[in-house]
């Protein structure tokens, strides 16, 4: 490894390198730990949790699109208690930061989960606000500043000393509006982007390929959207950003960092290459070294816009 300092800080949490894996693409780490030690990673965003176990959506849940995929997993997970009992102890065996990702039907559910996770001792809580709010007629929290702020406030109140990172949805007209609302409500960090709503149709059967008709787009196709949104949010708020969306190479990660991200997450790229996060990390180190940086963190926000 070149002599670039790869360590970064994300809301007071020290990551040994800026590459974490994105929620929902890495399970609770067990599967990919068969390929390499999880201690190689800066951090792990665990599969999205809900208060109670969820079965998720009917299959097909995945469709390939040009340079991307659509998924409609629907938050299948064993529930927060099962994660704390079984998933967390396993992840704790590795020298890496554990970031729990949570979704709730109501602000109260977010609060209960934060309390449980904070007691269990995760390093960070990532609050997914791209899911529908049952009370607000199914409207996604992430699309309304006041709803996003309410969830953030409740999460903060129950998370104790554990930093709360709010994960923003790109399916909005102005992402900075949500980012500001969440900052105002006390969030410690932001992560973006979640998947972009999309659809693919089989022209012969005239059926949508996904059983849920629509799903979330991720993969290389979304990288430019992620870079743009990270850049906009970086200018709008003072919170540290975990950037993600389509990262599969060091260069992609460097773009997100230059746009303002302190660290990056790798998701969909894992499906093609289980080693993608390590390749991104090494690529990033090489770029930093080539550019004569002493620390990779110097990239953050370094874009020189016209």
């Amino acid at each position: 490894m070149p002599d670039v300092n790869m360590q970064v800080d994300l809301a007071g949490v020290t990551l040994k390198n800026p590459v974490v894996v994105a929620s929902g693409t890495f399970g609770f780490g067990r599967e990919y730990s068969q390929f390499y030690s999880l201690g190689e990673l800066g951090g792990i965003c665990a599969k999205g949790l809900t208060l109670h176990p969820r079965m998720g959506n009917p299959s097909p849940r995945i469709a390939e699109t040009p340079m991307g995929i659509l998924n409609s997993v629907g938050l299948e997970n064993p529930g927060v208690d099962a994660f704390i009992a079984e998933g967390l102890p396993f992840l704790r065996k590795f020298d890496t930061k554990v970031i729990a990702n949570i979704s709730g039907n109501t602000p109260e559910e977010y609060g209960i989960m934060c309390e449980k996770l904070s007691d269990a001792g995760v390093d960070m809580i990532e609050v997914n606000i791209s899911c529908p709010n049952v009370k607000a007629g199914g409207l996604a929290y992430g699309t309304r500043p006041e709803l996003a702020a309410e969830v953030t406030e409740t999460a903060k109140k129950h998370a104790g000393n554990v930093p709360v990172m709010v994960k923003l949805s790109p399916n909005v007209t102005d992402i900075t509006e949500i980012a500001r609302a969440v900052e105002g409500a006390g969030a410690d960090a932001l992560s973006l982007i979640n998947t972009i709503r999309g659809m693919r149709i089989d022209i012969n059967t005239r059926r949508p390929v996904l059983r849920m008709n629509t799903g979330g787009l991720s993969g290389p196709a979304v990288l430019p959207v992620a870079v743009r949104m990270v850049w906009e949010v970086f200018q709008a708020v003072r919170l540290p950003i975990l950037g993600m969306g389509g990262v599969s190479r060091g260069e992609d990660a460097a773009q997100l960092m230059l746009a303002g991200a302190s660290a990056v997450a790798v998701g969909t790229a894992l499906f093609a290459d289980p080693f993608a996060p390590l390749a991104v990390r090494d690529g990033l180190a090489e770029i930093a070294q080539r550019q004569g940086l002493s620390a990779v963190s110097e990239l953050t926000g370094g874009v020189r816009p016209w």
């Binding site: 929902g24 693409t25 890495f26 399970g27 067990r30 599967e31 990919y32 068969q34 390929f35 599969k47 079965m55 998720g56 009917p58 299959s59 097909p60 849940r61 995945i62 469709a63 390939e64 040009p66 340079m67 991307g68 995929i69 998924n71 997993v73 299948e76 993969g219 290389p220 969909t268 894992l270 499906f271 093609a272 290459d273 289980p274 080693f275």
Partner: protein, 261 residues
């Protein structure tokens, strides 16, 4: 242990314009990791395909300098078309061994039932399982009943029944009718092992259940990671739980699957 490795193609034969027989060098995946028929490999296909494609192992054996795995696949779309255009000597990026394969560890007699491109995952069982076995193989039409595949059953099974949808070879009709006839005469089988289209699996499972014979079905679902991390390859079980084809399967106990989901 699962590995990602470059696997050299040592054989690639065209059985017909859309069906290919490929043999790969797979390192020591058979000797060390126990790769066997009915499991699958997750293969990276070039040409702008982001996702790997799952292909079943028809046959896997120890060999020198490397173990060998036989795959038989049909061209369906761009990924499999790309695979079919490879040349002997080319290398493929492969993850394996994945999935469980059939369980034929219990001594007894087995009934193997395959339909179309679902037959290859049964080939190793037809050829070299330890116990006596009978095979029922279904094809759309005579031209699809490739001797390279059927002979592997005919040479080693006590009986091999061929059915075609159009009656051009063997019995006219679907495999489940043949399975019913066999079980009616003698239902003293340890298990039915079956792979093929979902509708076929369902009717074979129904027939096996009627005669009280345990049935193992190899299921298909679209895949992402192939290793159990992304949860996209879900199937619903009778008890209301969800299982994942890549990790818990592809072979499941038929009575546990919710066939109406």
């Amino acid at each position: 242990m699962k590995v990602e490795r470059k696997c050299k193609i040592v054989e690639l034969n065209r059985l017909d314009p859309v069906t290919f027989w490929m043999v790969l060098e797979v390192g020591k995946m058979v000797e060390r990791d126990g790769l066997r028929g009915g499991q699958f490999l997750h293969i990276k296909c070039g040409g702008g395909q982001l996702l790997r494609r799952p292909i079943s192992v028809a046959y896997a054996g120890w060999d020198e300098p490397e173990d060998l795995a036989t795959l038989i696949f049909e061209v369906r779309g761009e990924g499999t078309a790309w695979l079919s255009r490879r040349k002997v000597g080319d290398e493929l990026d492969v993850i394996g061994p994945l999935g469980n394969g059939f369980d034929a560890s219990q001594p007894g007699r087995y009934l193997l039932v395959g339909g179309g491109i679902g037959i290859p995952p049964l080939m190793q069982y037809g050829e070299c399982m330890e116990w006596p076995r009978t095979a029922v193989l279904g094809f759309r039409t005579k031209d699809k009943a490739f001797p390279a595949i059927t002979s592997r059953f005919q040479d080693h099974c006590e009986q091999t029944y061929i059915c075609t949808d159009d009656g051009t070879l063997g019995r006219h009709g679907f495999v489940d009718a043949q399975v019913r006839d066999i079980l009616e005469q003698d239902s003293n089988y340890t298990a039915v092992l079956t792979c093929g289209p979902r509708s076929m699996l369902k009717s074979v499972a129904t027939a096996a259940a009627e005669f009280g014979v345990p049935c193992q079905v190899s299921m298909e679902e679209r895949m992402g990671c192939g290793v159990g991390a992304c949860l996209v390859c879900a199937i619903t079980m009778k008890d209301g739980t969800v299982k994942h084809v890549c990790k818990d399967g592809p072979v499941f106990a038929a009575q546990e699957v919710d066939w109406n989901a």
